[in-house]
C-alpha cells in the first residue's frame, strides 16, 4: 500500500440487480497523488463503470473506496461529488445557463462569495485558453465542440478539486482539435498536478495521456497496470499484446529521448573551406560515404558524398544535399527515426539548443534503446514476481 495513494479501491464490486455476472469484480486499484491513471480496455469491459464507482455515480455492491485514506463508501454522495471534478464525453453543459454560470455550479453549492466565484470563473477560462471577456456571458449553444469541451474541463475544475474523473473527455471531437486539446490539457496538468482517472478505449490516447495505464479485461480485471513505456516494452500476456496492437515498438520510441538514452557517436564533419583530405580519411575510418558539412557556427548544413571530395579541391557550396532533417537533444527517438527516414545519409543529426552539431542518431541506437527498454521491463516484472 503506497503512502501517497490518493484514491484507493479495495476489492470493489458492482453486480447489477438481476444479473449474476458482476460488471466489476473485486477490483483493487491505487491512484497516486498528481498522476494521470488511464483506464483502457475494449468496450464493455467495465472501465466507465469503474470510473463511476469512484464518485459513486454507481453505488458499489461490495468493497471499499478510500480518498486520502478516508473511507468514502458510505458518506453523503452529493457532498463527495463536489470534491471530485467530473468530465464526460457529451460534456452536458447546462444549455440555459451562461458559461460563467456553468463554471460557478460547484463553487455556488459550496457557498463561495460572489467576488471569489467571479474571480475563479475568469481564472479558469484563462487556464483552458478561452478569453473571459469574450466567453463569460455566452451560452453553450454558441460554442464549438472544442470550446464546449474546454468549458467542460473548466467547470469540472470549478472548486479546485484535488481529484478529476474524465470519461472519454475528448472522444467526440475531431482528430485535429482532439490532439490540440490533449496537449493543452497535459500542459495545464503540469501546473495543476491533479490526481486524474481517465477512461478511454483508444490505446494511443492512453499512451499519450497516461502517467500509468491500467489495461482492463472482462469484469474490469486489471490485466496490466504500469507506465506506458513498460507496457509497450513488455506486454504481460496476449490480451495486452493484442490490445496494444501493431506498432507497439514504434510507439515505445515516443518515450525515449535522444539525450537520455543514446550515446551519440562522433561523425565525420568538415567546415566550409577546409581541406577535404583529412575529412575523407575520417569518413573512411568511420566506414561511411558521407561527410557532414558545418558552417562557421557549427550548424550542420549539407551532406557531402565522399566521392565529391576527391582531388584535394575545397568543397563547393552546392555539392551533396542540404540537411533538411535534424533533431534537438530533447527530441524523442520517434522524431529521430522520422528524420532518419528523410535524411539521405540514413542518420539523424542531433543539434544543441543553439543549433550547433552534437552528434548523430543511427538505427543501431534505436535498436539498442528498444532492447534495453524491453530488458528493463522484463527484469522489472521478474523482480515483481520474485517478491510477490
Amino acid at each position: 500500500m503506497s503512502p501517497d495513494a490518493k484514491i484507493r479501491l479495495d476489492h470493489v464490486e458492482k453486480t447489477y440487480p438481476g444479473t449474476k455476472v458482476p460488471a466489476v469484480e473485486s477490483l483493487s486499484l491505487e491512484v497516486y497523488e498528481g498522476e494521470i491513471l488511464v483506464l483502457v480496455g475494449p468496450s464493455g469491459c467495465g472501465k466507465s463503470t469503474t470510473l463511476r464507482l469512484i464518485n459513486r455515480m454507481i453505488e458499489p455492491t461490495g468493497g471499499r473506496i478510500y480518498l486520502d485514506d478516508e473511507d468514502v463508501t458510505k458518506v453523503n454522495a452529493d457532498k463527495l461529488r463536489r470534491r471530485i471534478g467530473y468530465v464526460i464525453q457529451q460534456i452536458g453543459l447546462f444549455p440555459h445557463q451562461t458559461i460563467a454560470q456553468n463554471i460557478a455550479t460547484v463553487p455556488k453549492m459550496l457557498g463561495w462569495d460572489k467576488a471569489k466565484v467571479a474571480e475563479r470563473i475568469d481564472r479558469l477560462l484563462t487556464v483552458v485558453g478561452l478569453d473571459p471577456d469574450t466567453y463569460r456571458d455566452r451560452y453553450p449553444k454558441e460554442l464549438s465542440g472544442g470550446q464546449a469541451q474546454r468549458v467542460g474541463v473548466a467547470r469540472a475544475l470549478g472548486a479546485d478539486p484535488e481529484i478529476m474523473l474524465m470519461d472519454e473527455p475528448f472522444g467526440a471531437i475531431d482528430p485535429i482539435t482532439r490532439d490540440r486539446l490533449q496537449n493543452e490539457f497535459l500542459s495545464v496538468q503540469e501546473d495543476l498536478r491533479k490526481t486524474i482517472v481517465f477512461v478511454t478505449h483508444d490505446i494511443d490516447e492512453a499512451i499519450k495521456m497516461g502517467d500509468r495505464i491500467a489495461i482492463l479485461g472482462d469484469r474490469s480485471h486489471i490485466r496490466q497496470i504500469d507506465t506506458p513505456e513498460r507496457i509497450l516494452a513488455f506486454p504481460v500476456d496476449d490480451f495486452v499484446r493484442d490490445f496494444i496492437g501493431e506498432g507497439s515498438t514504434l510507439k515505445g520510441l515516443h518515450f525515449e529521448t535522444v539525450d537520455e538514452h543514446v550515446t551519440l557517436e562522433p561523425y565525420p564533419t568538415m567546415h566550409v573551406g577546409e581541406d577535404p583530405t583529412a575529412a575523407v580519411a575520417r569518413a573512411r575510418e568511420a566506414g561511411t560515404d558521407w561527410v557532414l558539412l558545418l558552417d562557421d557556427q557549427e550548424h550542420p548544413t549539407r551532406w557531402v558524398p565522399v566521392s565529391d571530395l576527391g582531388g584535394g579541391s575545397t568543397v563547393s557550396s552546392d555539392s551533396g544535399s542540404e540537411v533538411v532533417a535534424k533533431v534537438s537533444l530533447g527530441a524523442t527517438l520517434f522524431e529521430a527515426l522520422e528524420q532518419m527516414l528523410i535524411s539521405e545519409a540514413a542518420v539523424s543529426p542531433v543539434v544543441r539548443e543553439d543549433g550547433s552539431f552534437y552528434g548523430v542518431v543511427r538505427l543501431t541506437h534505436l535498436n539498442k534503446a528498444i532492447r534495453r527498454a524491453r530488458l528493463e521491463a522484463r527484469e522489472h516484472y521478474a523482480q515483481l514476481e520474485a517478491t510477490s
Partner: protein, 219 residues
C-alpha cells in the same frame, strides 16, 4: 356591413357590462389554469419516471377531456351546488391533460448528459429538478399551459348553464331569445369577446414564457 356597424353600436351601448363579463370570464380561466398547472406539474414530476403511474395518469386525464362538457359540469352540481364552483372543478380536470402531457414530455426532453453532469457535480435531486430539469422543460410546459388556456377559454362559456359567470351569458341569452331584437348581436358579442380573450391570454402566456426562459434556450 350594415349589421356589423349596428353590432358595434350594440357593443358600445353595453361596453362596461361586456368588459366586466369578459373579466369574469378571464378570472374563471386564470383560476382554472393556476390550479391545473400546479396539480399537473406536481403530478408530472412525480409520474415522469414511473411508467405505470405515468400511463395511468395520462389515460385518466385523457378520459376527462373526452367527457362532454355540459354533462361534466352538471355532474359536480350535487357536490358544489350551482354557480362557478362546479364549472371550475370540471374545467380544471379538462386542463390537466395538456399541461401534464407537456410536463412529462418536457422532462423527457432534458438531455441525459445534462442530468448526468449535474448529478456528477453533486447536485441533489431537488437541485437537479429546480435548477436544471424544470427550467429546461419549461418552454414545453408553457406550450401545454397555452393549449390548456385556449381550451378553457372556450369551455368556460358553458359555465353559465350551471349558474356560473362569463361571456356564456351573452350567448345563452341570445340563443333563448333567438328571433327577437338584438338576440343575434348578443350571441355574436359572446363569441367575439371569448375569442378575443383567448388571443389576449395567449399573448400574455407568450410574454411570460419569453421572460422566464434564457437566451440559451431559444431557438
Amino acid at each position: 356591413m350594415n349589421s356589423i356597424l349596428e353590432w358595434f353600436g350594440y357593443v358600445a351601448e353595453r361596453y362596461d357590462d361586456i368588459l366586466e363579463t369578459t373579466w369574469e370570464h378571464a378570472q374563471l380561466v386564470l383560476v382554472v389554469i393556476g390550479v391545473a398547472t400546479t396539480v399537473a406539474v406536481l403530478l408530472g414530476v412525480y409520474v415522469q419516471r414511473r411508467p405505470t403511474l405515468r400511463a395511468m395518469s395520462l389515460s385518466i386525464t385523457g378520459i376527462f377531456l373526452t367527457i362532454p362538457s355540459l354533462a361534466f359540469f352538471a355532474f359536480f352540481i350535487p357536490v358544489f351546488g350551482i354557480g362557478n364552483r362546479p364549472a371550475i372543478v370540471a374545467m380544471i380536470l379538462y386542463a390537466l391533460l395538456p399541461i401534464l402531457r407537456n410536463t412529462v414530455t418536457g422532462l423527457d426532453a432534458v438531455p441525459p448528459a445534462v442530468v448526468e453532469s449535474a448529478k456528477g457535480m453533486g447536485m441533489g435531486t431537488m437541485r437537479q429538478l429546480f435548477q436544471i430539469k424544470l427550467p429546461l422543460a419549461w418552454p414545453i410546459m408553457m406550450a401545454g399551459v397555452r393549449i390548456a388556456s385556449l381550451i378553457t377559454v372556450g369551455i368556460a362559456a358553458i359555465a353559465v348553464l350551471v349558474g356560473g359567470d362569463g361571456l356564456g351569458s351573452y350567448i345563452q341569452s341570445g340563443l333563448t331569445r333567438l328571433g327577437l331584437p338584438n338576440s343575434e348581436f348578443s350571441v355574436w358579442t359572446g363569441v367575439v369577446f371569448t375569442v378575443l380573450l383567448g388571443l389576449v391570454l395567449d399573448a400574455m402566456w407568450a410574454t411570460i414564457q419569453r421572460f422566464t426562459t434564457t437566451k440559451g434556450q431559444r431557438i
